[in-house]
């Protein structure tokens, strides 16, 4: 998982138990608006795991806060659990606490900030965003050397293959009846087929490897649905993410849809609906 965005140091933040007293290292990976993500170990000292904590939000009414935090961690865990059973490539749920545990002080009083947490299987590999950025830098360098904007067929085919794999992964997700809700290239990890390849240093000036399996992560906004509209919006979000983050690969986005179309029976109607969603875009008026 990505370590590209170091979280701001938050010395005042106390994680919920048992992590408040844990002697096991918690390595901060990312602090978003909703959740804190750490790399740690779970069940055994040698099993790497991703810990996601949804801290309580002190600005909210405590009853509402508890209700939301609980509902969301459960929603995420249920989606992941369902997907693991259906053999969709997502991190498995290893541990969970939705009870909103609050650390006890010396007198045993439990008040203060609590939170819910979810421990997931650690996924080796690099997020697709990083791989595509590296590839785009490589292509730029190549274009400078050769003076031509032409992308060599081998390189183009490599990216097409990666994008088809992404489409197939999203298709398997939708087939299982889950909508991701936030598909971006930062939420897709390319897990190398062999563990050794994961640790091999990538050379900055070479074309990055695109071998491996796509694993979808961060189901914080996921929901269960088999509606074409929801599926189409999921794809549209991914399409926009490609457009804004990876201009050089945008022209290959069609390959994602090719991979998607081949992945399950319901893909056709969802893709048809995608055309409507694109047309609609964000053209809504501001009048209430």
């Amino acid at each position: 998982m990505t370590t590209a965005d170091p979280p701001p140091s938050s010395s005042t933040y106390t994680p919920p138990p048992p992590f408040n007293t844990s002697t096991t290292p918690l390595i901060p990976i990312y602090q978003g608006a909703e959740a804190h993500l750490y790399k740690t170990t779970f069940l055994t000292p040698s099993t790497p795991a991703a810990l996601k904590i949804r801290p309580s939000k002190p600005y909210r009414h405590p009853i509402l806060d508890r209700r939301l935090t609980r509902a969301r961690i459960l929603q995420e865990a249920r989606c992941l659990h369902k997907l693991v059973k259906e053999d969709v490539s997502v991190p498995a749920v290893l541990g969970l606490d939705w009870e909103f545990a609050v650390a006890a002080d010396n007198e045993g009083n439990r008040n203060g900030n609590g939170g819910s947490w979810l421990v997931m299987e650690w996924i080796e590999g690099e997020v697709v965003r990083v791989i595509l950025e590296r590839w785009e830098r490589y292509m730029k360098g190549l274009a400078r050397e050769s003076g031509s904007q032409e992308i060599p067929e081998g390189e183009a085919e490599k990216v097409r293959g990666l994008l088809r794999k992404i489409g197939a992964a999203v298709g398997s997700l939708h087939k299982a009846g889950v909508i991701h809700g936030d598909l971006t290239t930062s939420n897709l990890i390319l897990r190398p087929f062999s563990p050794a390849a994961a640790n091999a240093p990538e050379e900055e000036h070479s074309s990055p490897s695109m071998e491996g399996e796509i694993v979808m992560i961060d189901f914080g906004l996921a929901s269960q649905s088999v509606q074409d509209e929801d599926r189409a919006v999921d794809l549209y979000v991914l399409e926009r993410a490609f457009g804004s983050s990876h201009p050089r690969t945008e022209k290959f986005f069609e390959e994602v849809l090719v991979g998607y179309r081949e992945s399950y029976k319901g893909a056709g109607p969802a893709l048809k609906r995608l055309e409507d969603v694109r047309m609609r875009g964000r053209k809504r008026s501001m009048i209430g």
């Binding site: 608006a33 600005y59 909210r60 509402l64 809504r284 009048i287 209430g288």
Partner: protein
């Protein structure tokens, strides 16, 4: 350079006069007056009646503003007016008034996007006041120089941040605006529209204690309000709290005695409880989508603008969130939160300085006018 601003996109008609001294010193507000159309309790303001109000009052207000500012017509450089978005009929009334003044006095016309006017105005005020207060605050100004803006009013609910010469909408309501939701619930309870329905809901909410379960609909950085309104209207009907307040209605708050949690969860909610729950729920949603946008663009500052931005509970919640992220919240104070002519004059004069003009033929108004349609020339 002097600009008159006319604002009448909703039920408030405002006239403001703004002076930008030629030596580049601090701009001054020469006049800022307003007259509000108040509809009877249980009713919203209808476009037709609001437009009639604006037509009846615009001449009086312009004359009064000129008197207050101690200037004559000859001193005025341009007439700025709200082009949209807003309610059609009131917008048209004000546009007609602006065109008439432009022709009558031979002054340039500047059509202003209401939303951009608000943000620019709030922004400008913040920086000026901080500069005056303390030069040391300069650092803070740099920190706050690119805030995430929550724009909340009767017609708008948007989370906006500035990037590459445009205000980009990161999130918005998928149906009705937050102010609209509050106003409509005020109508359900027949709460007075004087001075404003949202203000009266806020006062009532302060007496509420019990949180009732309402839908909470956030989708990424967007949110939805219509389900909440339907649910709370339903609860009001279920408990017989809709319509005018009944004589025999028990008011638990009056005793002033603390209510135990147990009693709270079993007793029947009051009107105050419903207002409290509505505020807690919708403001939590607004703070949540604002926080998401802040995390997304890496900003620590929030600026709340628009009429709902006056709400103290919203400001408080936003403050707690921003503090936890190591930032702070700026909200425009009450006088400037509600629609006024000054913000239109200010946005207009800035555009005027860059050479922008609205030709007479194009001096229309439009109900739909997206904030991200405007190319911003005055910022970099």
């Amino acid at each position: 350079m002097i600009a008159i601003g006319l604002e009448g996109s909703a039920n408030k008609l405002g006239v403001g006069i703004m002076l930008h001294p030629s030596d580049g010193s601090t701009p001054q507000v020469l006049a800022n007056i307003r007259h509000t159309y108040v509809s009877p309790p249980g009713e919203g303001f209808l476009p037709k009646d609001t437009a009639r109000h604006h037509r009846a009052w615009v001449v009086k207000l312009v004359k009064k503003a000129l008197r207050e500012a101690h200037i004559s017509v000859a001193d005025v450089d341009c007439i700025c007016y709200t082009k949209g978005p807003g309610m059609g009929a009131p917008l048209q009334s004000v546009a007609v008034a602006a065109r008439t003044l432009s022709l009558l006095w031979g002054k340039e016309l500047i059509g202003v996007n209401h939303c951009v006017g608000r943000m620019l105005y709030a922004y400008y005020r913040k920086i000026r006041s901080l500069t005056l207060l303390d030069i040391e605050m300069g650092r803070l100004i740099t920190g706050a120089s690119n805030p995430v803006v929550l724009y909340v009013s009767g017609g708008n609910t948007q989370v906006i941040a500035y990037s590459s010469q445009r205000y980009r909408i990161f999130g918005e309501t998928l149906d009705i605006a937050v102010g609209n939701c509050l106003d409509r619930f005020a109508r359900t309870l027949h709460i007075s529209n004087d001075p404003a329905p949202g203000y009266n809901i806020e006062q009532l909410a302060k007496k509420g204690k019990q949180l009732v379960d309402l839908p909470y609909t956030v989708k990424g950085m967007d949110c939805s309000m219509s389900g909440i309104l339907a649910a709370i209207d339903g609860l009001a009907a279920q408990y017989g709290l809709n319509g005018e307040q009944k004589e025999d209605e028990e008011e638990h708050e009056i005793t002033g005695e603390p209510v135990s949690n147990e009693t709270l969860s079993t007793r029947k909610p009051t009107r105050a409880d419903l207002c409290f729950s509505l505020q807690e729920t919708v403001y939590s949603m607004l703070v949540e989508i604002t926080e998401r946008a802040m995390a997304h663009v890496g900003s620590k500052e929030v600026l709340i603008v628009g009429g709902v931005g006056c709400n103290e509970r919203l400001q408080e919640m936003m403050g707690i969130m921003a503090r936890d992220r190591g930032g702070s919240v700026h909200a425009t104070d009450e006088r400037f939160c509600i629609d006024n002519g000054i913000m239109i004059a200010q946005a207009g004069i800035m555009a005027y300085k860059t050479g922008f003009r609205t030709p007479f033929k194009e001096s229309t108004c439009t109900q739909r006018f997206r904030t991200d349609d405007v190319f911003v020339q005055w910022r970099d």
